[in-house]
């Protein structure tokens, strides 16, 4: 089971109400390479991956939920004081009609989250390579959002998340090596 802790993993501050930025950020909330996809992908793969790397998937998957909460906090803070007119000007008129100020799992273009964003092949190397690709895509997405953002406080939190994607990819690479070593050892005997 999980225990909730009443704190964010890293502080989230925003300079001002900015629904346009929230519209871009939602990509990392309910998009293909976003944090929801990441958490569900790794935690779901845990059950059938070799014991040697279960812990890593468990722990990275758990950290992804902390990142999801940070993204949610960013979107919430960027939109909570926005008027319907401001949301409309930011391209969120359609969103407002359906959700008011509520958060929803969709990507920046408005497509709802779908399980087709994640795979579970059962082959540990295939699954880990998918995970590495997912981390690299998430890192790139964070960079594109930072490029579009002019909020220095928000960018600080986004850079933290971007760096975490790099660390996760590195750990997944190590997991691949651990499994390859184990496989080669079995061949020797």
């Amino acid at each position: 089971m999980w225990l909730y802790e009443k704190k964010l993993q890293y502080p989230v501050k925003v300079s001002q109400c900015n629904p346009r930025l929230a519209k871009y950020l939602i990509e990392q909330y309910g998009g293909a390479d976003g944090e929801l996809s990441a958490a569900l992908r790794y935690l779901n793969q845990r059950y059938t991956i070799p014991d040697k790397v279960v812990g890593l998937l468990n722990d990275i998957g758990t950290e992804e939920f902390a990142h999801l909460e940070m993204i949610a906090t960013m979107i919430y803070k960027l939109t909570k004081d926005a008027t319907p007119e401001q949301l409309q000007q930011a391209g969120l008129g359609d969103y407002y009609v359906n959700h008011d100020q509520a958060l929803y799992y969709q990507n920046a273009a408005g497509s709802p989250w779908t399980a087709t964003y994640i795979q579970a092949k059962g082959d540990p190397i295939a699954d880990l390579y998918e995970d590495i690709a997912a981390e690299e895509k998430a890192r790139a997405t964070y960079q594109w959002i930072i490029d579009l953002s002019d909020d220095p406080f928000l960018n600080e939190s986004l850079k933290f998340l971007r760096e975490r994607e790099i660390v996760h990819a590195q750990r997944f690479h190590e997991a691949v090596e651990i499994l390859k070593e184990e496989r080669d050892r079995k061949k020797v005997f």
Partner: protein, 85 residues
């Protein structure tokens, strides 16, 4: 919600220590034989507990489901939640 500066200062200290604990956890998942890293992990786990005890005595429980003690009346459900500060 008006919170004293000490809330943010203490919370940030906890976030710093706990971040290293998260990062060390992932590192140790793939480097389980690194004795220095395990020592550092245990030292920081101790520091995190100390800091959280200090924070909770002033601002209420951090952990759900018995991970933290409650005062009376029950104060786990009280704001502020992390996205509100």
């Amino acid at each position: 919600m008006e919170l004293p500066e000490s809330y943010y200062q203490l919370l940030e200290k906890i976030q710093q220590v706990d971040f290293v604990l998260v990062d060390l956890t992932l590192y140790l998942d793939t480097h389980p034989d690194d004795l220095e890293a395990v020592k550092q992990f245990n030292q920081l786990a101790y520091e995190s507990k100390q800091l959280k005890a200090q924070f909770e005595s002033q601002f209420g429980p951090l952990l759900q489901f018995g991970g933290s003690f409650s005062s009376y009346p029950w104060n786990w459900k009280d704001a502020p939640w992390p996205w509100q500060v």
